[in-house]
């Protein structure tokens, strides 16, 4: 019989820990590599190049419209691998749980994690559970690490070393939904919206694009700091510039409305299911077409291009016909967004 709340004992390594692992984690994450139950997961990998990434998730609140911290912990790590050109394979999941968390909540989070892992085709092969006293963490923090297989021909993608002037910049859909969904879920009394987080694993969409064209020069997921930060990173890379067209960037009208109301710039608001690609101009149309066939890329669009002349700057052509620079965010726009 399981308790209703997490107790300090659930992190003791004793019987309670074992029950928790068996009845919650093993039951949902169920796969032969995890069930080896050794101190390390032992697995085989094809090829000789690996991509390896880690990320911690502290989003507040743990449940938000369109997802929860568990789903986010899978999508985020899967996406970090996928945008490096790797095929995500194995994930580790470490939980730091605050004493008193409802087991029901933990289970809802874990089951959505498992579902997202299945959807993304990755296995959760190892993990850890710690419980801290009430007040020493906020409900639940999750760390996931991920390993992916990397084909040598995609080595250039994460550094962007092949980016050239004239390349097109593409995004797979509307920006700023995640940040605004989390914001709406925080204690805004009387604030009711239908905004859902865009939290999703993008490895399928990305694999589709990589199979279709050879000219993908760079990819990055636009998470914290939003689209603008990625564009600034591209602009800062090797002295090339970036020209972006504000009206080409899709933003859902409800997200736009909430941003206006609260004074946020949607270009700087976090996403959890958006990839920015820099591609050979000859491939741009094909990439957009391919993305649009995927439910996660229906509103894919070319939003700008790489230029030679702006000296490492991102220049925004505003929707009203003006021109200005776009800078990286200083300090946090929203803490604990992911």
């Amino acid at each position: 019989m399981m308790e209703k709340n997490i107790l300090i004992g659930h992190g003791s390594g004793g019987k309670l820990t074992h029950t928790l692992i068996k009845e919650v984690f093993f039951r949902h994450f169920d796969n032969p590599l995890l069930l080896q139950q050794g101190d390390s997961a032992l697995m085989k990998m094809e090829g000789n190049r690996l991509a390896f990434t880690t990320d911690s998730y502290v989003v507040d609140p743990v449940f938000f419209p369109g997802g929860n911290i568990g789903k986010l912990a899978i999508c985020g790590t899967v996406n970090d691998l996928a945008v490096s050109g790797a095929v995500p394979r194995y994930i580790s999941a470490a939980f730091i749980i605050e004493e008193g968390l409802y087991l029901e909540e933990l289970e809802a989070i874990v089951s959505e994690m498992a579902a997202e892992a299945r959807k993304a085709g990755v296995l959760i092969v190892t993990g850890d559970t710690k419980v801290v006293n009430r007040g020493q963490c906020d409900k639940l923090f999750i760390n996931t690490s991920g390993i992916g297989e990397l084909d040598g021909k995609y080595l250039h993608i994460s550094s962007g070393e092949n980016i050239k002037a004239g390349d097109k910049i593409i995004i797979n859909g509307p920006v700023a939904a995640h940040g605004m969904a989390v914001m709406a879920a925080r204690s805004f009394e009387g604030f009711d919206t239908d905004i859902l987080s865009d939290c999703a694993s993008l490895n399928g969409l990305i694999a589709g694009v990589l199979e279709t064209v050879a000219g993908v020069r760079f990819m990055r997921d636009a998470t914290r700091g939003g689209l603008a930060t990625v564009l600034c990173e591209i602009a800062g890379n090797g002295g090339l510039g970036v020209e972006v067209y504000e009206e080409a960037v899709p933003v859902e009208s409800n997200v736009k409305g909430m941003c206006e109301l609260l004074g946020f710039d949607p270009f700087y608001v976090a996403n959890e299911g958006k990839v920015v690609m820099v591609v050979d101009p000859a491939d741009a149309e094909k990439v957009v077409e391919k993305m649009r066939k995927d439910p996660l890329g229906r509103e894919a669009a070319v939003i700008g291009e790489i230029s030679a002349g702006t000296g490492g700057r991102a220049v925004l052509h505003t929707s009203v016909g003006g021109k200005r620079i776009m800078d990286m965010l200083a300090g946090g726009q929203l803490p604990r967004i992911c």
Binding site: H317, T318, V320, R324, G331
Partner: protein
Amino acid sequence: MPDQMKYIDEFRNRDIVKGLVKKINEISHSKVSLMEVCGGHTWAIQKFGIPSMLPSEINLLSGPGCPVCVTGRGFIDRIVAFSRQENVIIATFGDLVRVPGSSSSLEKEKSRGADVRIVYSILDAITIASQNPRKKVVFPGIGFETTAPGTAAGIIYARKKGTGNFFVLSSHKVMPPAMALLIDEGVKIDGYIAPGHVSTITGSGIYSDIPEKFGVGCVISGFEPVDILQSIYMLLRQINEKRFSVEIQYKRVVRPEGNIKALQTMEEVFSIRDDWWRGFGIIPGSGLGIREEYGIFDAEKMIDAEVEETVEDKGCICGEILKGLKKPHDCKLFGNVCTTENPVGSCMVSHEGACNAYYRFNR
């Protein structure tokens, strides 16, 4: 919700903007300097890239319209001193947290353990006070006629509720004396893009001295690109026709008589006093102090604090920038020593500050 963006998209319409730019070009004949005195305008002008659309004869200046920017260091030092007291909670709007005082800021004090909470409304601060009856909750009241009525309403509400542990440190200011002072001091201003939100409260009458005494026109403007461009056009017409007056472009919001209820609320709680403006010094009749009748809510009177000696920042030319004498690019510190990550002056902290807007959008 297709209707949701109504009143925004129309005012960001590319064709209308194009038409206005063309009209401005047609009537722009000589060099003019137009000053906006609202931080919201400063931000919008740079964000939409408006300077890039205008003929080179038109010079847009940013005036003292960013509340955080004109707030004196002494005020920050006092709030910092309060925050160091064990039984004090500071409940503040977010833009004040990073503003540097003489040696510290609320952000720094928070990292050292001070209880500093960001609120979106003064009512949230009063709620915090009710929830923490053993603590003194201090709300720093800054801003012009736009925010002062909200603070006044909060104080009235706290009195009604009997929230005796709630206090306001007022640095509220009124705009017209600063606008008049600039022209009086000889700053070359050919027209004011007058603040839309301030005027929503005050009405248009408060600026009547400016065209009458100084021969400088005022157009009360909204905050969208179409609003701002139309206001510039209206000012150019006034200049060309030498017909100086106060006009309202932002008619969908601003009434000539203002918001009577808000004005009464402000009048009920605050009285005019001389006040210190960062970069300007003392401007007579430009501040709002809490009236005797509401003295029990006045943090200045009710809470003792050891406030450090105020030291002004060296090298920072915020004062001249706030007066429109210089632009952020003219400052030696701009972009190297003083950045949004590591601001020296408050004009770089607030997103309504000229230095911040230039740094982010027009470097």
